[in-house]
Subunit: 320 residues, 2 copies
């Protein structure tokens, strides 16, 4: 947990307990898998944002807790579904038991966690929460499908990229910031600026992620550099370089190839960096951070406002 | 559509239109895939049950329509997720674009359809509907995970089987019968017998499916005989034969093997049939059908009651 979230440390502990309780009544088989997932940890960013959002109006953490747990479950479900990978198109082969578990278990476990989040949300008598989260989940899937269809395609613009990262990342963070306040009964004048704040830092967060995939220290990042490129995911620095780098033809060629060698990945990373893709993307991040801070100016001056401002700063300077 | 559903033909047409409208506003990429799925058709059994359930109390098809569409979307989403198959555990290989789409698209498209169903459900001001469907979706995933973990395992009892088919099939049909009435404002004295009716015919429907997988005409069924066995799915006729057939040791041996040759599948089917697994399962089906009919006796004598009774009869005599 980020140290800037220390004012909600207790609440996050309740979320950890809540996540465990949610899967407590499950069949042992599914419980073990879920507990394993929950124990693997995570920053619990979305629950944290929901509590911080609630601080702006009649804060009562108990009103937010089911929402906070459900936000983390939605996030976990989407991560589990992202793990589904194809290694072959062959479908007529008889799968071994172990092989059958791989992708299938990811799919059904994700559905299970998502279903559990729905049960928590269905406990709220405020329809607005269910409607925002239903809409968010539809858009999250749209973003994932768009990413699949646009893989390895150089013929896409910045708008395609923004369409995807809004859905993949920003909307759930926006909903987290907004709905924590909604759960406490906040009016639009409070929860709409919070939503916009969340949207902006969500966008900034994802662009930074995409920058770090190209320039971070692989050890700190915990994965090899250029993994987006390897999967054919077209990110903002790449889009910029595809338009402005003097070596854009070569970059195009590497991208369009289905499989890419480690040497090609390295070469492509070099072209993107030297072509100014990183500086350009950093400027866009700054713009989103500025917008996030402007939204905070519209909110009451409670301590959580300073925390959210610090979070915004942190996003633009993080190195992993 | 079964001819017995002719009294709700118009309503089912509205469901077809509704399904198309739901994906109308989507990104073209996801819309094409969804429309393809919807056009592939289906019996629309769950929407049909929701309308028939509504006929028992202040019937207004408009109140049921969003629910009916959402029930079909949940069903479609679960089918799409069932399509996720593993052909290899290798995950470090770089997937080709085409291969990447396969399982991934199934996962995200299923999520998308499920999310769309939530949006429709979130439109109801009756919390009961959202709660029943959230619970149902959790249990459906539990059933799927249980099926994965129990594949190829002879050491399971009839209770494991009932646990799975209740979740895989019966609960959503039970919810369909119940919630159509709930959407029209029916009291418990109406919607609980409908739920129990749906549960019983759902169980009977799935057991019949599992029988047909062993004895149906492959052409009529549209898939090869013994496909459950091939996937290691342990069904009621098999469980019976594993306990009572004189050749149970051989059956055990075939089941426990990960991959099964066509000859072994045929041999196993033969052992199950000669061991009385089919007669036994048919008796269980009859018991569920009887129970379903007893539930109908508790309901007002409207024409839909005769339809539901005919549906119950049909389930036990269908051949494909």
């Amino acid at each position: 947990m980020l140290d800037i979230f220390r004012e909600i440390k207790e609440e996050i502990n309740h979320v950890e307990k809540g996540l465990r309780m949610v899967v407590e009544d499950s069949d042992p088989l599914i419980k073990d898998t879920s507990v394993h997932l929950i124990s693997a940890g995570g920053k619990r960013l979305r629950p944290a944002f929901s509590f911080l959002g609630g601080k702006f109006y009649n804060y009562d953490y108990k009103k937010i807790l089911p929402l906070a747990v459900s936000l983390e479950l939605i996030h976990m479900a989407s991560l589990v579904h992202d793990d589904v990978v194809d290694s072959s198109l062959t479908r007529r082969n008889i799968p071994t038991v172990k092989a059958m578990w791989g992708n299938k278990i990811s799919t059904h476990l994700g559905d299970y966690l998502f279903g559990k989040s729905l049960k928590l949300i269905a406990g709220y008598e405020n329809f607005f929460i269910a409607r925002v989260l239903a809409d968010t989940s539809v858009r999250m899937s749209e973003g994932e499908v768009h990413q699949l269809f646009s893989a390895n395609r150089p013929d896409q613009g910045i708008r395609d990229y923004f369409y995807r990262i809004k859905r993949k990342t920003a909307l759930l963070i926006a909903a987290s910031c907004q709905l924590g306040a909604v759960a406490c009964g906040a009016p639009e004048s409070i929860h709409l600026p919070l939503r916009r704040y969340g949207h902006s830092i969500g966008m900034a967060f994802q662009i930074t992620d995409d920058i770090l995939d190209l320039v971070a220290d692989a050890d700190q990042l915990g994965k090899p550099i250029g993994s987006d490129l390897r999967q054919g995911i077209v990110t903002l620095p790449l889009i910029h370089a595809l338009r402005h780098s003097p070596q854009r033809d070569r970059l195009n060629e590497i991208l369009a190839a289905g499989e890419k060698s480690p040497g090609e990945i390295e070469e492509a990373c070099g072209i993107i960096v030297s072509g100014g893709g990183i500086e350009y993307s950093n400027r866009i991040v700054e713009r989103y951070i500025d917008n996030a801070k402007r939204q905070l100016d519209r909110l009451p001056d409670v301590p959580a406002r300073q925390t959210l401002s610090t979070v915004a700063e942190f996003i633009s300077i993080r190195k992993f």
